[in-house]
Assembly symmetry: C2
Homo-oligomer: 203 residues x 2
């Protein structure tokens, strides 16, 4: 969790500024299991980390620019290393597509077209991202370590699975509607009745 370790980690790659960290996260973090980080959390955190002695400002080589370049201190390297040693928390996946699909059967069951649209957008985005990762992994500028590289390979495998699945699902949705998968307590039937009743009484 926490921006703190993202900042320490990014600085472990190379000393940079708050602005530089933002770009790194924007660029690499997107598909690497980090969320986003805003300036509003980066700058105060950098200040705090400096006060705690985990990072320090180093001389900026970029003349003229009023930029603060930070690097890890010994304490900072230790903090980062200690954090890596702890078992990672379970992944937090918040995917509105899946949330929406969970509710589709009760709330929008006779509209398949909109869901197909959503899936097509996702498919395009995933293909784009895969291309982006391929380019990125074969450019002559970026550093990819052994372990970090494994992570990226996996990310690519996952994207390929996603793309396949989006395609398969669109095909399924174009076939005629089938009956609910499993409904021992007739919840779907009841939900439809509740909905209808709500509209009768509501208007």
């Amino acid at each position: 969790m926490s921006v703190k370790h993202i900042l320490l980690g990014v600085l472990s790659w190379e000393p940079t500024s708050g602005y530089g960290i933002k770009s790194e996260v924007e660029f690499k973090g997107r598909e690497l299991g980090w969320g986003r980080v805003s300036f509003g959390s980066i700058y105060p955190q950098l200040k705090k980390l400096q006060e705690e002695g985990l990072i320090q400002a180093v001389d900026s080589e970029k003349e003229g620019r009023k930029t603060k370049i930070y690097d890890l201190t010994a304490k900072g390297w230790n903090e980062l290393s200690d954090w890596l040693e702890k078992p990672p928390a379970s992944p937090e996946i918040r995917d509105e597509l899946f949330m929406k699909m969970s509710f589709w059967d009760t709330a929008r069951s006779n509209d398949r077209e909109t869901l197909i649209d959503h899936l097509e957008i996702r498919r395009k985005e995933a293909i784009e991202m895969l291309g982006f990762m391929d380019d990125w992994m074969s450019n002559d500028y970026s550093a990819i370590g052994e372990i970090g590289g494994f992570g990226m390979d996996y990310e690519k495998a996952r994207l390929k699975l996603d793309i396949q699945w989006y395609e398969r699902l669109v095909n399924e949705l174009r076939k005629p509607t089938s009956v609910p998968h499993q409904d021992p307590r007739e919840l779907f039937k009841k939900a439809a009745a509740r909905k209808e009743k709500a509209f009768r009484e509501g208007e």
Copy 2:
């Protein structure tokens, strides 16, 4: 985003209490792309949704218990449906394992065993979750709709990929260390030097 639509969605399945919503989310939501929801956000939100007229308290069948059962109003059904119509936001994946792997090469490069431990834990968790989902999808109580069922099928495919990948990665890590994948600017070499320097100066 937002607890709001999770509450509306869960209530679309079946009228229930704040406590009941929490259980549903704990139970199903875990692997279905929702985050967690705490009581501290459920109860205030339920109150708010009731004030806004999106949900209403219905008679509790459970005699004796002081429990408030909520159901959607017509307005609530519309709100849920409108939300489903909008293209889902991009997935937010926050996986500390991948974050940690991104930083492993600079901060803990000569410790492969700890990472193997992390991966083994993940593998076990994924296998457990897969078993849980299989049980759950074949019990005689839970309702699974057509669309929601597709989501679960995909989730299972993803878990299988995860398991395979954890295994493959552990195998890779047991082999001797290879050189960094790609390092045109010698960042890894420089990082090692910066780290060493920080410790020399720091102590």
